[in-house]
Symmetry: C2
Subunit: 209 residues, 2 copies
DNA sequence: GGCTTACTGTGACTAAAGTCACTACCTGAA
DNA sequence: TTCAGGTAGTGACTTTAGTCACAGTAAGCC
C-alpha cells in the first residue's frame, strides 16, 4: 500500500504493518464535519492529505479557530478522549478535501506500550497542540483584534500555501469570534496600508504583509 | 513511607515501590517558583500537599492564570515537555506551601510502557489540562471581564476551600491580564450587589455569590 | 436583462475596557 | 508619632470593539 509510505520515516516497520492491517482509509469532502462537540471519539485520524480545522464554539453560535491539523499529523484531543471514552470538546471540519487513516481507538493503549515510535508520535502531537492552544490563549489575552487578524491571515496563507485567501469577511469574523463590520474595517485599513488587496470573497496578501 | 499512601488507589503496587525508590520528596514555600518559562523541565512533580498555580506571561509583564494543580495531581505540560527535553512554556508557582514528589524524567518513558496505571494517570492528566485550557479560551473569547472575575473568585475560593480570598485588586488584575482600576470597579459593583464584602487585601464571598 | 441574494463599505452610536490623575486610606517601621 | 509605601476608590477621558442601519455592488439565475 502506498499510504504507509508517508509515515515510513515516522513509525517503525512493524507498526506500519499494523496500521495497514487495522486502519481504514477515509475520504471526506471540504466542509464536512469529522467530529462535532459532544460526539464520542470513535477513531483516531491520521491525516494523509488535506487540512482539518479545529474549532471551539460557545452556547450560542459564536465560534473560534483553535488550530489546524496538517498532513502527517493527528489530533491530540482524540488521543486523550478516546482512551477514556469521553465526548469531544472540539469540532473538526475538513478545510479542504481530506484523506485520513482511521485508526480504531482500541489499539491505542496497546500501541502506546508496544511501539516507541507511536509513543513519541503521540507525545509530540500532544505537545504541539498544547503549544498551539497556548498560542491561541496568548492572542486572546494579550493581543488586539488587528494583530489577531494579521496572524490569522498569515496562518491561513501558510496552511493553504497561497497568498490568495478565499473567505468572506463574515467567515473570518466567525473564526475570530468577532463581527463582520469590525473585520471589514480592519481589512480596509490593511488595504490602505498596502498590506493586502480586497476582492469579493477573496483577499490577496502582498509582499509587505 | 507514608507518602505513597496518597496514591495507593491510583497506582499499582509495583509502581508505588518504584516511586518510593526513585522519587525525591521536595518541599517549597508559598510563592516559590517551581518552574519558569524557558527553563528545561527536569522533573515531574506529583503533588502531595498544597496547590500549584500555572500561569502564562507575555513579553512585557502581563500575566494570565491558566489553571491550578491540586494535591494528587500533576502537570501535563511537564509530561510532554520532558519526554523531548523541551523548555517550558509556562510558569508554575507555589500558591501555598507545597510538598511534591519529584520524579526524574528519565523513568517516564519506561513507566508509560510498563505500568497501565501510570499510562492512565498521564492520559487523564493531559485530558484534564486540555479541558482547562479550553475553558480558559472560552472565557477569553466569549465572556466579558465581569463574568471572568466572578469565575476567578469562585475558582480561587474552591481551590483554597475558603470564602475568604486574600488578594489585592492588583494581584487579581494581574492574573486576569487586566488592570487594577477596572477590577476595583467591578468588585465594587459586586459589593453593591451584595455578592461580597471588600476589605484591605481581602475579599469575603457571601452566600449570594 | 431584471431580480434576488450575498457580500462589502461606512457613518453613527453604544458598550467595554484601559489609562491617567488624584485622593484617601490603612499599616507597619523608624 | 509620624511618615512612607502599598492599597483602594473614583472621576474623566481614550481606545477598542460591537451593534444598528443603510447603501452600493457583484454574481448567479430565470
Amino acid at each position: 500500500m502506498e499510504i504507509a509510505e508517508k509515515f515510513k520515516n515516522v513509525f517503525e516497520p512493524e507498526l506500519l504493518k499494523e496500521i495497514e492491517a487495522k486502519a481504514k482509509l477515509v475520504q471526506v469532502k471540504e466542509g464536512d464535519i469529522i467530529l462535532d462537540i459532544g460526539q464520542t471519539v470513535k477513531i483516531i485520524p491520521l491525516l494523509i492529505k488535506g487540512i482539518l480545522k479545529i474549532t471551539r464554539a460557545d452556547d450560542y453560535g459564536k465560534e473560534l479557530l483553535l488550530y489546524y491539523v496538517h498532513s502527517n499529523e493527528s489530533c491530540a484531543m482524540t488521543f486523550t478522549c478516546c482512551m477514556q471514552q469521553y465526548p469531544s470538546e472540539i469540532k473538526a471540519t475538513a478545510e479542504s478535501d481530506v484523506e485520513f487513516l482511521a485508526i480504531p481507538i482500541g489499539v491505542m493503549d496497546e500501541w502506546l506500550a508496544k511501539y516507541p515510535t507511536w509513543k513519541s508520535f503521540v507525545m509530540r502531537t500532544i505537545r504541539n497542540r498544547f503549544n498551539e492552544l497556548l498560542g491561541t490563549i496568548d492572542q486572546l489575552a494579550f493581543q488586539k483584534l488587528d494583530e489577531r487578524l494579521v496572524n490569522y491571515l498569515k496562518e491561513k496563507s501558510r496552511a493553504t500555501g497561497s497568498a490568495l485567501i478565499n473567505l468572506s469577511h463574515e467567515e473570518i469574523a466567525r473564526e475570530l469570534a468577532s463581527s463582520r463590520e469590525v473585520i471589514s474595517r480592519l481589512l480596509k485599513k490593511l488595504e490602505n496600508d498596502n498590506k493586502l488587496l480586497l476582492y469579493r470573497n477573496q483577499i490577496k496578501l502582498l509582499q509587505a504583509f
